[in-house]
Symmetry: C2
DNA sequence: CTGCATCCGCTTCGATACTG
DNA sequence: CAGTATCGAAGCGGATGCAG
């Protein structure tokens, strides 16, 4: 599952996968890749640029796991509030997190809004339009709101567990944007319907 | 996940769970149950009837995993065609299998139909009605078609990988029902859209 | 540098015996 | 029925080596 999660962000090299799976033994990764290839979940693809090597990518059957992983992530997302422990957070997951929370949300009654969200290293944009929400893996210069915080605070704000004001007051987040834009953010965040985890 | 799968069919006792998880060590099961209770996935419930003991049941958060498990099962279902190896098949999973294949299928253009499906030990009924498909965990005496076969053949027939005639010819299935009913079965089975697994 | 294979210490597991 | 205790076997994380 972790390998599929990595590949769900796009084709990756052996070394990229290693980097995304801290602690995995190289023989185990190699064996799992063979096994997943045999099961028709991923394909090997030899490439010569930028460096000679092998690209691993999901097959159609592997792609079919993506919505399931997203639902599993959505189920587990409330646990992010309990802090990360020694879990790692890859900046590229910001897109995944935003899609998880907003991708099939209704925008009924909410005015368009552009949000820039950053964990310090990477920045993404959430574009709330008339009848859909789009996620972009880059910073929109026209953003109405800008939020910068650690992953678990970002999650707390985006999922409505923490208001922008509370997050700013606790000093864990820096937020820029006028009152109207913040209000629209709060309205959207309140629509994220997750079942909270205990304690 | 396997424990949640077991509990997704209803509350179970320690011994029931053991029976549904062949090979699990009792200490491991006990530890997992404590862990899952702590994580808010299941609850312990002491009962005195029919025998004094403990019932385990999913919490609301645990119930939220059921559709995810169903989607995972749907993803993995094509692998049933490759035979079971030493995998076990619990007769109670027939309901799960039928729901997985038919529960949110459109019945447009298909006349009502009652099917009785049996693996020899348990029998369930699939009731195709005007605008929905219902699964019953019992045999309907009014069934238009009766199918009896081993789990992987049942799956092959119900998912349209094998026609009723092919299955009968190979001697792995016994099917009773007139031509019209068989034809409706084939039409429904063809609507199950699973991505086939390789070889 | 990429993509592995090999080896080792440790954790975890399956199996079984036993208890309130 | 609902677990706890114990033990050998298997699998894993981590370090290291090495061919293309």
């Amino acid at each position: 599952m972790l390998i599929v999660r990595e590949l769900s962000l796009g084709p990756r090299r052996f070394t990229d996968l290693r980097g995304g799976l801290p602690g995995i033994a190289t023989n185990l990764l190699a064996e799992r890749l063979r096994s997943l290839e045999g099961a028709g979940v991923l394909e090997r693809h030899e490439v010569s640029r930028p460096l000679p090597g092998v690209l691993y990518r999901l097959t159609e059957r592997g792609e079919a796991l993506k919505p399931i992983l997203r639902d599993l992530a959505r189920w587990g997302a409330p646990l992010m509030l309990q802090g990360q422990g020694d879990d790692a957070f890859d900046g590229r997951w910001l897109v995944f997190l935003a899609e998880l929370l907003y991708s099939d949300m209704s925008t009924e009654g909410v005015a368009p809004l552009v949000m820039a969200v950053s964990n310090g290293a990477e920045t993404i944009s959430i574009l709330v339009e008339r009848d859909s929400v789009r996620i972009e893996p880059a910073e929109e210069p026209t953003a109405d709101v800008r939020i910068e915080a650690d992953p678990s605070t970002l999650f707390a704000i985006l999922s409505g567990q923490l208001t922008p004001e509370q997050a700013e007051a606790s000093g864990t987040a820096v937020i820029k944007g006028n009152t109207r834009a913040r209000k629209r953010l709060a309205t959207l965040a309140a629509r994220v319907g997750l079942i909270p985890a205990p304690s």
